[in-house]
């Protein structure tokens, strides 16, 4: 960071963290001068508003936010500093353990690259030049711009987006009180196909899984050992240790595939064919659960009729899995059922047909009776259900007449409102249809990195009059924003309570916010006040907000803070009720969806031909590693050290054909972009596919560790969206690979 003539000007440049006398681990194996953790803390203590006396040594029970799984954390404090995070043994998501990201949580709180004061842009967008301002000025300015846009173009001209989190309620409160229908969440980028398909089939978003008693699990692109969901990953390891059979469909030999009983290197986009043939085999051979089908399902005859054509030989031609293997897995699964499940996954193969794939997976579970039995899928209540909380007074919101920019529901009637289609907001800014958006309020989110086709997103940014981003570090989106409001990290603030089953869990500050950062609850209220919307934000600080939430419960804030959670004693009705209920229109598991039928679509899962690469092109696959969360953690010293960049996986034979050796510089080129990266030559991927970890190639010069490390998949990914579920189809981007 170099300073301008004026003291209050920040000009971000790409210089590394030399001001600390340190250098980050270089990608090419440069000397590894260490960044001692105590140095970071000392730095933060010197420059930040560290509460030097008010935080007693000891342990604080709170919730992790290094991903969205929300594990219970016990934070150890000494001399006003957090020294270590441990998994809370009493929390069902952590069970005493944290993953590498959770363990690295201090790297976020003590990141020297934190945005330390509110900033207002003074240079051009992307120039990295900002003016340090007070909260007063930043909030006044933000509210003035938002009010101006509202008066000039209507409230609908502001888009509000966030990654779903505990403070969702207040985020939505601001959005609705302001009066915009334009709400964006990451979900359209993640799992719209899964949620939409499951809600149409079972009448709930995402079925639970019982690993304790399961004998057989099939995953489709779900990589639990690298895309860690702490408790579920633990469950999978235990299930394997107990001898459950685990089949992994994935074009790449992931760590989950390596640990599984069987790896099926399926062709991208064609997992649908595999499942249609499974349905064919099981119905043809009468291996299905007649009792469950007759009593609880709707549309079995149509399904049977539809899948008659999908023989294992037919599927083999498409998914590249030998027919005999499909037959064997169908047999094994139906024998293991109901102590078996085909996992609902996140994105399966990430094609436009993924919605059909998810429907076929749901149908497979249903016809085998893998529902509400030991070891099967479960009708689990979602997070946030289970305990009734109190809430702040909620006056009625203004009526919104404008259409949503993402086309939900007017163009996409099946997509749940709460999911929306995030990427279409960006496209609507560019087309100006159905009307022109002028502002974007971005909270805990990084759309510039997360939405496919970064150039398009930048172009959309350039069409906007006002962008405000609330974040902790200068992520790429913040870097291109007009106002940046620095939020306190999850270790420095409260958030609204987390409800899980019979318990409420609290996220609470372990230390006071460092620098001039503020908690989200405070920021929302202050913006609300300045927009003239104070009646929607009736709480007197964070603790009062939680206290209002706790009102119906027999626990005080102090008690909750001490233990970290509170369990409501409920009268259980004993056994699971014999009767199963499904929240669909027919009240049954809809193998043929009445919603789809009503819309004139085929109600049963059916074949939908995926796009295929042309000669000399590869499927571009993307995914996760255990050490990073999306685009958010690359600047974390601990995690960057373990995984600094994202080379491209390419099959040995294909690499040889192109004269590419392991570690060589290569170009990866799609229709919309080209990146230069390194080759990781391996036998662990199909010859027709290449793979890179997502989330790298940051453009913000305010990220002095992550800047320009690795490459961004968003520079390559073309935006494809399944019109039914609104899911983006990332794996439909095909690339050429050649030596640099």
């Amino acid at each position: 960071m170099s300073k301008d003539e004026r003291d209050d000007i920040v000009q971000y440049s790409m210089s590394r963290r030399k001001f600390l006398g340190l250098s980050a681990a270089g990608a090419a194996g440069a000397s590894l001068t260490g960044l001692g953790f105590d140095k970071l803390q000392a730095y933060a203590a010197k420059h930040g508003d560290v509460a030097k006396t008010t935080i007693p040594d000891g342990e604080v029970h709170t919730l992790c936010e290094m991903c969205v799984w929300r594990c219970g954390v016990i934070a150890k404090v000494r001399d006003g500093k957090i020294t270590k995070l441990e998994g809370n043994p009493d929390h069902p998501h952590s069970r005493g353990k944290l993953c590498p990201r959770g363990q690295a949580g201090l790297g976020m709180t003590y990141d020297p690259d934190r945005v330390k004061t509110p900033l207002i842009r003074v240079g051009k967008r992307g120039e990295g030049k900002f003016r340090k301002v007070t909260w007063e000025e930043a909030l006044d300015y933000t509210a003035a711009r938002m009010n101006e846009l509202k008066e000039k173009y209507g409230a609908e001209s502001m888009i509000f987006s966030t990654t779903h989190n505990l403070i969702q309620q207040q985020f939505e409160n601001l959005l609705r009180a302001y009066g915009s229908p334009n709400y964006g969440t990451q979900r359209g980028l993640c799992f719209n196909a899964m949620i939409t398909a499951n809600s149409l089939t079972w009448g709930l978003d995402e079925p639970g899984r019982d690993y304790t008693d399961t004998d057989y699990v099939i995953y489709t692109g779900r990589n639990l050992m690298e895309a860690i969901s702490n408790s579920e990953t633990q469950d999978l390891v235990e299930a394997l240790a107990k001898g459950a059979k685990v089949v992994v469909l994935d074009p790449r030999f992931t760590k989950t595939a390596a640990r599984a009983t069987e790896w099926v290197p399926i062709k991208p986009g064609n997992d649908l064919a595999f499942y249609l043939a499974m349905l064919h085999e099981i119905i043809k051979n009468d291996w299905y659960d007649h009792e469950f089908v007759e009593e609880y399902t709707h549309g079995f005859d149509q399904l049977a009729e539809e899948v008659r054509q999908y023989t294992p030989e037919w599927a083999e031609q498409r998914c590249d899995v030998p027919a005999e293997n499909i037959r064997r897995i169908a047999r094994e699964f139906s024998v293991a059922a109901p102590r078996a499940f085909a996992h609902p996954n996140w994105r399966t193969s990430n094609f436009e047909n993924s919605f059909q794939t998810e429907r076929a997976i749901a149908a497979l579970n249903a016809i085998c009776g893998c529902w509400s039995q030991p070891g099967s899928l479960q009708p689990a209540a979602g997070e946030g259900e289970g305990v009734e909380l109190g809430g702040i007074p909620q006056p009625p919101y203004p009526r919104v007449r404008a259409l949503r920019l993402d086309g939900v529901p007017w163009q996409h009637p099946v997509v749940p409102l709460k999911l929306g289609i995030f990427q279409k907001n960006r496209d609507a800014i560019l087309t100006g249809k159905p009307y022109q958006a002028h502002g974007w309020f971005i909270y805990r989110q990084n759309p510039l990195s997360s939405i496919s086709d970064r150039r398009k997103t930048l172009e959309a940014f350039s069409k906007l009059d006002f962008i405000v981003t609330i974040d902790i570090i200068m992520n790429d989106t913040a870097y291109y924003s007009d106002v940046i409001l620095p939020e306190a990290t999850y270790l420095e603030r409260y958030d609204p309570l987390m409800v899980m089953e019979d318990s409420v869990f609290i996220r609470q500050p372990v230390i006071k916010p460092l620098f001039d950062s503020k908690p989200g609850l405070w920021i929302f209220q202050e913006i609300g006040k300045r927009l003239g919307l104070e009646k929607y934000f009736q709480y007197d600080g964070e603790e009062d907000y939680i206290t209002q939430q706790l009102k119906p419960l027999d626990v005080t804030l102090e008690e909750l803070k001490n233990k970290g959670y509170f369990t409501v004693v409920k009268e259980h009705t004993g056994e699971h009720s014999e009767e199963l209920h499904f929240g669909t229109k027919t009240g049954k598991v809809e193998l043929s969806s009445t919603v789809l039928e009503q819309l004139g679509m085929k109600g049963v899962p059916h074949w939908q031909e995926p796009m295929t690469p042309s000669e000399n092109q590869f499927y571009l696959l993307t995914g996760k590693v255990a050490t990073h969360t999306q685009f958010a953690t690359q600047n974390n010293e601990y995690l960057h050290d373990l995984f600094p960049e994202n080379p491209l996986w390419i099959n040995t034979k294909e690499a040889e054909k192109r004269g590419i050796k392991n570690g060589d510089d290569i170009y990866v080129e799609s229709e919309i972009g080209k990146v230069k990266t390194k080759a990781y030559v391996t036998e662990g991927i199909r010859p027709d596919s290449v793979f890179m970890v997502a989330g790298f190639g940051h453009v913000s010069k305010g990220l002095r560790t992550a800047f320009n490390e690795g490459v961004s998949d968003s520079d390559l990914h073309i935006s494809y969206t399944d019109p039914v579920s609104g899911s983006q189809a990332l794996s439909q981007t095909f690339v050429k690979v050649y030596k640099a």
Partner: protein, 188 residues
């Protein structure tokens, strides 16, 4: 009564190579970024597509019964405790790095900030407070175990009594205190 022999027992088939153990260790022990006291070795990807295999072998200082690092230390900074743990007395160490060379497991590093050699202490400061070492406590797959193998009632002793295991470079005569449990041979 037999003396204490603290050791690590690792169920390699439970390791998912997430590296939570590495971060946990670095934070707990204030290890400078860029160095590590522990590791997860990836073995593979071996074979030819699609018949491939991959396994993982976590490790750290082996706390040998016959530690080569101790023999080469010119000032006696490296020593073996009665409970089996090998330690570096950082007040005595002169930073000559002989021990770093002598360790066949590459388990030691030179800490530029302190000017002395550093390595795994089995989080002895936690262990005697009744806590597990930081790497063991957070192991997502439950692969890492720690305890007194001379106590037949300990988890580690029971694991060794009922499973096949190997130790790394046993032929070197180091008598390492890290035992790797495997089922059906070392995979991949």
């Amino acid at each position: 009564m037999a003396t204490k022999r603290f050791a690590f027992v690792i169920e390699t088939e439970r390791c998912i190579d997430c590296k939570a153990c590495m971060v946990s260790c670095s934070v707990e022990n204030n290890v400078p970024v860029g160095h590590h006291r522990n590791w997860v070795h990836q073995i593979g990807i071996k074979g030819t597509f699609p018949d491939v295999g991959m396994s993982f072998e976590p490790g750290q200082c082996m706390h040998c019964e016959n530690p080569p690092c101790e023999r080469v230390c010119p000032v006696g900074a490296t020593y073996r405790r009665d409970d089996g743990l090998v330690m570096v007395d950082q007040d005595v160490c002169i930073g000559c790095k002989y021990c770093i060379e002598a360790c066949p497991y590459d388990a030691r590093y030179f800490n530029e900030e302190t000017g002395v050699t550093d390595k795994c202490t089995a989080c002895v400061h936690r262990v005697y407070q009744g806590e597990e070492p930081a790497c063991v406590a957070t192991c997502i797959g439950g692969a890492r175990h720690f305890g007194d193998i001379n106590d037949p009632n300990s988890e580690v002793a029971k694991l060794l009594a009922t499973n096949d295991y190997y130790r790394v470079y046993e032929a070197a005569g180091t008598e390492p205190g890290v035992y790797y449990i495997y089922k059906g041979g070392r995979k991949a």
